[in-house]
């Protein structure tokens, strides 16, 4: 048995066909929770063979990963995420009937990620966990947001945008030019609206090429939606525009069902109600980092 804690949600990865430990990548190391104090929110059995289904799903959604691709199939009685990369394929199943789609606390998954003789690439393992985690934590105002995050003076600043817009570049410019700035995560941090209403950003095992796996969290200061432009310009968004700026950076697989979308909208609604969200048109230069830094911290006082 292996326990992990991400954004204070504990989950368990387990084998049922051997006593071997579950070998998760280095990126999971800082998130190990050897002695959980609360019962886990969900568990993933990682070594159960998955029998292929040939019947037609209600919803089928294909999408690309940075490396490889995925297919999500929603059936009346279960969710199936098939992941393909580097010539390997694995499937994660959430046997939760749609009719009782209540996100029960005992939410559980199984997958053939670690069946004997299989060499599952890290990219598949990581994305399967991203899906399981995001799915199971939805009812708890918890969202994995595709972004690169810097921390300055104890506040987290999240940079969002389409792939290739320069999220990591912009946070790197902060590290280089804004004294005391550090990176919390470079790809998939977790944002959570805490029971007292505070919005916090947590490090996670999912950090892309940045390889920053920090078991730490900070209050959210602001979000920046980045767009490449021939000049630097920043503008604070209205609440509805802010919502529109954040929604595309949530996990696309979760937007495919009304009930899940309800949870996403609820959490985002709470975030945009209290936090400043900016549109940043920018060049990849020092002036862009100074502009966003000064604007955000002037607003924060």
């Amino acid at each position: 048995m292996s326990f992990f804690s991400v954004a204070e949600h504990v989950f368990e990865l387990t084998r049922e066909n051997s006593d071997l430990p579950v070998v998760a990548g280095l990126n999971f190391g800082p998130f190990r929770a050897e002695y959980p104090t609360a019962s886990p929110l969900f568990r993933v059995v990682v070594d159960r063979p998955v029998v292929a289904r040939t019947d037609e799903p209600m919803v089928r959604f294909d999408y690309d990963l940075q490396v490889g691709n995925c297919t999500l199939c929603i059936y009346p009685d279960e969710y199936r995420l098939t992941l393909r990369a580097l010539g390997e394929e694995s499937t994660l199943v959430c046997p939760q009937a749609r009719s009782s789609y209540a996100f029960a606390p005992e939410c559980s998954f199984y997958a053939d990620l670690c069946v004997e003789g299989k060499r599952t690439p890290g990219v598949i393992f990581d994305h399967a966990m991203v899906f399981a985690y995001s799915f199971a934590t939805l009812p708890y105002d918890t969202l994995l947001i595709h972004s690169s995050v810097v921390v300055k003076d104890g506040l987290a600043v999240m940079c969002l945008g389409e792939s290739g817009t320069g999220k990591s570049t912009h946070t790197r410019l902060w590290l280089e030019h804004i004294e005391g700035a550090e990176r919390l995560n470079d790809d998939g941090p977790v944002v959570r609206v805490m029971p007292d209403g505070e919005v916090r950003v947590f490090g996670s095992p999912w950090s892309g090429k940045g390889c920053v796996w920090r078991q730490e969290s900070f209050p959210l200061g602001a979000c920046l939606r980045l767009r490449q432009a021939p000049r630097n310009e920043i503008k604070r968004l209205s609440k509805i525009a802010a919502f529109g700026a954040l929604l595309p950076s949530t996990l696309p697989t979760l937007q495919k069902e009304e009930r899940a979308l309800d949870y996403i909208c609820d959490a985002l609604s709470k975030i945009v109600a209290t936090k400043p969200i900016f549109m940043l048109d920018c060049l990849p230069d020092e002036a862009a980092a100074r502009l966003s830094y000064e604007t955000i911290f002037a607003a924060a006082g």
């Binding site: 609440k239 509805i240 919502f243 529109g244 929604l247 979308l261 909208c265 609604s269 945009v272 109600a273």
Partner: protein, 89 residues
């Protein structure tokens, strides 16, 4: 025409919006903001076959507005819904 049935009105930070997620090959997500009158019309017209005349009837029944003005508003409202792809013929 009819309102497309697969959209629901959501409250985001106190405002009423319709969220239309990007379709298979169009990644663009559209957020349509509804003012109170639009939201009221949206509720009244669920599952109902309607045209500009019908919308104008609703408007004149609920608000103090000249028929001619109501019809113009109704046409503009339908045009904006059509542009946002929220109605079907």
């Amino acid at each position: 025409m009819k309102l497309k049935s697969d959209y629901k009105v959501r409250k985001i930070a106190g405002e009423s919006v319709i969220v239309r997620m990007g379709q298979q090959n169009v990644k663009m997500t559209t957020i349509i903001s509804l003012n109170p009158t639009s939201e009221w019309l949206w509720e009244q017209l669920q599952g109902v076959e309607f045209d500009a005349e019908k919308v104008a009837d609703l408007l004149t029944g609920e608000y103090e507005v000249e028929r001619e003005v109501a019809l113009k508003d109704a046409e503009a409202w339908i045009a904006s819904l059509t542009k946002a792809d929220l109605v079907s013929e």
